[in-house]
């Protein structure tokens, strides 16, 4: 490099005015079969990348990204699950000595030690030896950590009820969506439906809310049966849910039995005509 007096610049800039030829280095004298990155190796990488990208695109077409129904914060029965790469932590917090009052152990101390050690690995393993077999402590700790992570993830996957969770999160199909949309929110029955707390479990459009209550816009019951269920319960639904006058009960029963459209004749009857 040119230094000191006599340096020339491009115009009044600070760019030195001396041209360097742009000829790649000759790697043939380097040890082993060294290859130039540009363009030789990059072209090979490019090909591998293209093949990888095709495989990746096939994956996205074969398995579209999943989407469940709209988030409903009131649905307390939903089984939550984080994305798979957080499952190890999620599972760790289920164990007795890492949860409840001891959550600090599972949430801070164990992950803190593991990730802290990972971050500071160069200063914990300072020996000059690089081969994994020549540094047994570092290697065995890492193997242990990986096995523990894999085991915890596996256990979490095993203990999760995938089918039930899928059913809980399922979107309404189009027919159901239409039925839910068409619920008459102006009807007298809807007011009772909402005042009596039915809305809490069966949703504001009779669409249900996963674990707490099933959709009821298409029930196979006559108004009398609906009235009976509202008072005496059915299946997991407890008795004594309805606390109002008999008149209101009749209006509500007709409202639900008709699929939320008392004036149009209702869902069930419509379907039997079709």
């Amino acid at each position: 490099m040119h230094r000191g007096k006599g340096m020339k610049f491009v115009g009044d800039s600070r760019v030195p005015d001396n041209k360097k030829p742009n000829i790649p280095k000759d790697y043939s004298e380097f040890p082993g079969n060294t290859e130039a990155f540009w363009p030789n190796f990059l072209l090979k990488e490019w090909l591998v990348g293209a093949v990888f990208l095709i495989g990746f695109l096939c994956l996205t077409i074969a398995h579209p990204a999943p989407l469940e129904r709209l988030a409903d914060p009131t649905d307390s029965g939903y089984i939550p699950l984080p994305d798979w790469y957080f499952l190890f932590l999620y599972q760790l917090l289920k164990y007795e000595y890492a949860s409840g009052q001891l959550t600090v152990i599972g949430a801070v101390i164990i992950p803190g030690l593991a990730f802290g050690a990972l971050l500071l690995a160069p200063w914990l393993d300072t020996g000059p030896e690089r081969r994994a077999s020549k540094r047994p402590i570092a290697t065995s700790l890492m193997v242990l950590g990986v096995l523990a992570t894999v085991y915890l993830t596996w256990e979490s996957v095993e203990s999760h009820n995938w089918e039930e969770a899928e059913a809980q999160g399922e979107m309404l199909d189009e027919e159901e969506m239409e039925a839910a949309e068409s619920v008459d929110m102006e009807a007298a029955g809807y007011e009772i439906y909402s005042e009596q707390g039915c809305i809490g479990c069966h949703g504001d459009q009779l669409q249900g809310s996963g674990a707490a209550g099933p959709p009821i816009f298409d029930v196979p019951y006559e108004p009398d049966d609906v009235a009976d269920i509202a008072v005496n319960g059915i299946g997991e639904m407890p008795a004594g849910q309805f606390e109002g006058s008999d008149e209101d009960l009749q209006t509500l029963a007709e409202f639900i039995s008709s699929g939320g459209n008392p004036e149009e004749g209702g869902g069930e009857e419509e379907e039997s005509e079709e």
Binding site: F41, R69, D72, L81
Partner: protein
């Protein structure tokens, strides 16, 4: 023609040294799968970067349709997935890429660890790499909420509960992330969106730059 354009710029900005630093370096035999097939383990870092680029590009396209508020977020994702041409592919790439980038980064970390490449003089690059790992996990966590469907919402509820259980700073962290000590709602979604789209990618790009400058400066670690 191209050469003349290059020379014209080079005359003014002296870009040849920069070009040399970026592109003109050797690929030693022990990392080249063309010579030793087992050297494919040295590809995981490059693949991580490749998928990161895919994530950035597909994410940019997703924000063309995504609306970060609790009324429209879910509908906008559903519209993108169901109605927009190739929307299902763009969202699919971002969804699967998020998992794949974690897998590749994990494998890259294991390669660096078991070949002892983090040792002197590469300690700083290892630290930056682990920080990138954390940022990626943060991107995964914040991105998971954005579709605002059932599993997104409840996974975030669980995640924030874990953050809350940390002593001293737990509740502050939760409030900072969720926008409220109690409610996980509208404010949480916009915050997660901001963190996912601006804060963490900014940090990621800075860390990646440091990671690459260091590897260029030091060269890849030698054979065992």
């Amino acid at each position: 023609m191209l050469q003349r354009v290059y020379d014209w710029v080079d005359d003014r900005l002296d870009i040849t040294p920069m070009w040399r630093d970026i592109a003109d370096h050797e690929v030693p035999e022990h990392v080249n799968p063309a010579h030793h097939f087992s050297a494919f383990v040295y590809c995981f870092g490059g693949l991580t970067f490749f998928i990161t680029v895919i994530q950035i590009l597909s994410g940019m396209f997703l924000t063309m349709y995504y609306v970060p508020d609790i009324v429209n977020a879910y509908e906008s994702v559903r519209y993108l997935q169901g109605e927009v041409a190739f929307g299902v592919i763009v969202r699919g790439m971002h969804h699967w890429g998020a998992s794949l980038v974690i897998v590749m980064m994990f494998l890259h970390t294991l390669r660096v660890f078991f070949t002892g490449s983090y040792k002197k003089p590469r300690e700083l690059n290892w630290v930056v790499g682990v920080l990138i790992f954390f940022v990626m996990l943060g991107l995964g966590f914040t991105g998971y909420l954005l579709p605002w469907d059932m599993k997104a919402y409840f996974a975030t509820v669980v995640g924030l509960e874990i953050a809350e259980s940390v002593p001293v700073v737990g509740e502050l962290t939760k409030t900072l992330l969720a926008g409220d000590p109690e409610i996980i709602g509208a404010q949480t979604l916009t915050r997660f969106f901001a963190i996912h789209v601006f804060f963490l990618p900014g940090a990621l790009l800075g860390l990646l730059a440091a990671h690459f400058i260091m590897i260029r400066k030091q060269g890849i670690s030698g054979p065992l």
